[in-house]
């Protein structure tokens, strides 16, 4: 649905050129929710603005729905933009218009008839559940309601693609959840391709199918959300994952004398993670079959989109041999393990 080929954006200035985006290639499929995560200044805002040409790339090609935006004249580009919706961190609603008139705005631009506009706006007010606020002005709404108006406005011209520029960054966690639920709902109901940029891993975790990590204008890692979450490769990615999935050993545990190999009387600290249904009772089998004791230090079950994702920090004690065979067993089991070290 969206294809970026060697897209570059450099800002030229007397003080020196700034390469905000270096040769970037992306292929976003029809109907997927694609997340782009990065710290501020990483180039994610530039990237998403290149998709609808709010920022004109200094090199490369942008294709949306098979049409090359980078080859279009102004008129054709305006036409093309009408099928690309966009929502913003600060909503960017017109303060002088009511909710209803804000949603009608893109339709007015397209010169739709009054009757057509009224009908469409009513539908959208239902979709975002704001019928009772139709005649309010933006300043009378909460942040979450404003973003709902933003979403309704973006959907007014039946776009194929929705670009979300940090749409939940200015909202509280509860409201963020409800906005994400709404985005997911419209993604499924309208088969809408959604590209969202964010600095919140929480957002990616809840709704993205695939994710790209951007740093210094480069995409450093890309994959399905499950892959990136469970097997992050780059340091930055690991840091992002850690923000929602803290794998550090609790401070109460004495790790001062931790070593990487077995020493007399030591216990092994292991992180176990599983994705999906855990049908293999790993902990029970360890105790029953391998003659070791398992002490659970911490654990939680989380969801990556709809998939359960469990993490468990355990301390296994036993003889040197039984520990070795127990670790062998874990290695073959359907869980991912990470041996942290041996402690006394």
């Amino acid at each position: 649905m969206i294809k970026l080929v060697n897209v570059e954006k450099t800002y030229y200035s007397k003080a020196g050129d700034i390469a905000a985006l270096k040769k970037t290639n992306l292929d976003i499929k029809d109907g997927e929710i694609f997340g782009i995560i990065g710290l501020s200044g990483a180039g994610k805002s530039t990237l998403i603005r290149c998709i609808n040409m709010l920022e004109v790339p200094t090199g490369g090609q942008v294709f949306v729905d098979g049409k090359e935006l980078t080859a279009m004249n102004k008129q054709a580009l305006r036409q093309a933009r009408q099928s690309i919706g966009m929502i913003f961190q600060h909503f960017n609603l017109l303060a002088s218009r009511t909710v209803r008139d804000n949603i009608a705005f893109p339709l007015e631009i397209q010169g739709k008839s009054k009757a057509e506009i009224t009908k469409k706006v009513d539908e959208l007010l239902d979709l975002v559940q704001l019928h009772d606020r139709a005649d309010y002005y933006p300043s009378q709404l909460s942040g979450g309601q404003k973003q709902r108006v933003g979403i309704a406005r973006a959907l007014a011209s039946d776009p194929k693609v929705l670009l979300s520029d940090e749409a939940t960054s200015a909202l509280d966690p509860q409201t963020t959840k409800s906005i994400l639920a709404l985005l997911r709902d419209i993604n499924q109901r309208l088969h809408l391709t959604i590209v969202m940029i964010t600095h919140q891993m929480e957002v990616v975790k809840q709704i993205c199918d695939r994710v790209a990590v951007i740093e210094n204008g480069n995409i450093i890692e890309e994959g399905t959300m499950y892959q990136v979450f469970t097997e992050p490769k780059e340091t930055t990615t690991k840091e992002f994952v850690a923000t929602v999935n803290d794998m550090t050993v609790p401070a109460i545990l004495n790790t001062a004398d931790m070593q990487q190999t077995y020493f007399d009387g030591s216990k092994v600290l292991v992180h176990l993670t599983f994705l999906g249904n855990a049908d293999e009772p790993v902990v029970a089998r360890l105790i029953k079959n391998y003659g070791v004791d398992v002490n659970i230090i911490s654990g939680k079950i989380d969801y990556l989109k709809d998939m359960p994702y469990g993490t468990l920090l355990v301390e296994i004690s036993g003889s040197k041999e039984s520990l070795a065979t127990a670790l062998d067993y874990i290695h073959q089991a359907k869980v991912k393990e990470e041996v942290i070290g041996y402690v006394s």
Partner: protein, 219 residues
């Protein structure tokens, strides 16, 4: 103040109203497009054009830096072409308009610049043309601020109209100078000043009221 002065005061009052109203309307009609062009051709705006912006800006600045009394005398030939005479209330409208239009243009410009760039970006993302951005975003969104600015222009025009009056334009200023100053009729002077003060108060209050009604930011 003698009773026979009253009709004279009333006549002068209407002359001032006529001069101020006509020149405000004309100056606004000229000032709005000028202000819009000054805004949109800025380097970081929707239709950047350094040449247009630079030239227009220079003309506006030149007009604004010329003292009104000098401007009025300097453009007498132009006034004569437009109105057919350089003396009289109608003739005063020409210099008043020419001095107020650039002022209003700058007021419009500063009002339009208050609009958050994000809102303009949102309209661009929807495929709005530059004209649509001006008529559907920039002007409606800043209307409350423009109204306050035009109020300010009306009040300075009341002041300028008194000066125009001194050069044969009629109105309250003319009355105050001819009777109050030249004939030492202190009561006429005081009456004129009181009428002017009341006018300015009313204009300002009305402007504030309209702006408040139009401002949907703080409800």
């Amino acid at each position: 103040m003698s009773p026979e002065m009253l009709p004279l005061l009333l006549k002068s009052f209407w002359e001032t109203c006529y001069m101020v109203l006509a020149s405000t309307i004309l100056a606004t009609v000229i000032g709005i497009p000028l202000g819009v062009i000054l805004t949109v051709t800025r380097r970081d705006h929707i239709l950047p054009n350094a040449a247009v912006n630079g030239i227009l800006g220079a003309i506006v600045n030149a007009t604004r830096s010329t003292p009104f009394i000098i401007l009025m005398v300097a453009i007498i030939p132009l006034t004569r072409i437009i109105v057919g005479s350089s003396i009289g209330t109608t003739a005063a409208i020409v210099p008043l308009t020419i001095s107020a239009a650039p002022f209003i243009a700058r007021i419009i410009e500063s009002s339009l610049l208050e609009i958050d760039h994000g809102v303009i970006e949102a309209a661009q993302a929807m495929g709005a043309s530059s004209m649509q951005i001006v008529t559907k975003v920039l002007l409606p969104e800043s209307l409350h601020s423009i109204v306050l600015g035009i109020t300010l222009a009306v009040i300075s025009l009341i002041g300028y109209s008194a000066m125009a009056g001194a050069l044969g334009g009629g109105g309250l200023g003319d009355l105050a100078i001819r009777y109050g100053y030249q004939r030492f009729q202190m009561d006429v002077m005081i009456a004129t000043v009181i009428v002017l003060i009341i006018m300015v108060q009313l204009v300002q209050s009305f402007g504030n009221y309209c702006s408040r009604k139009l401002n949907k930011n703080k409800l």
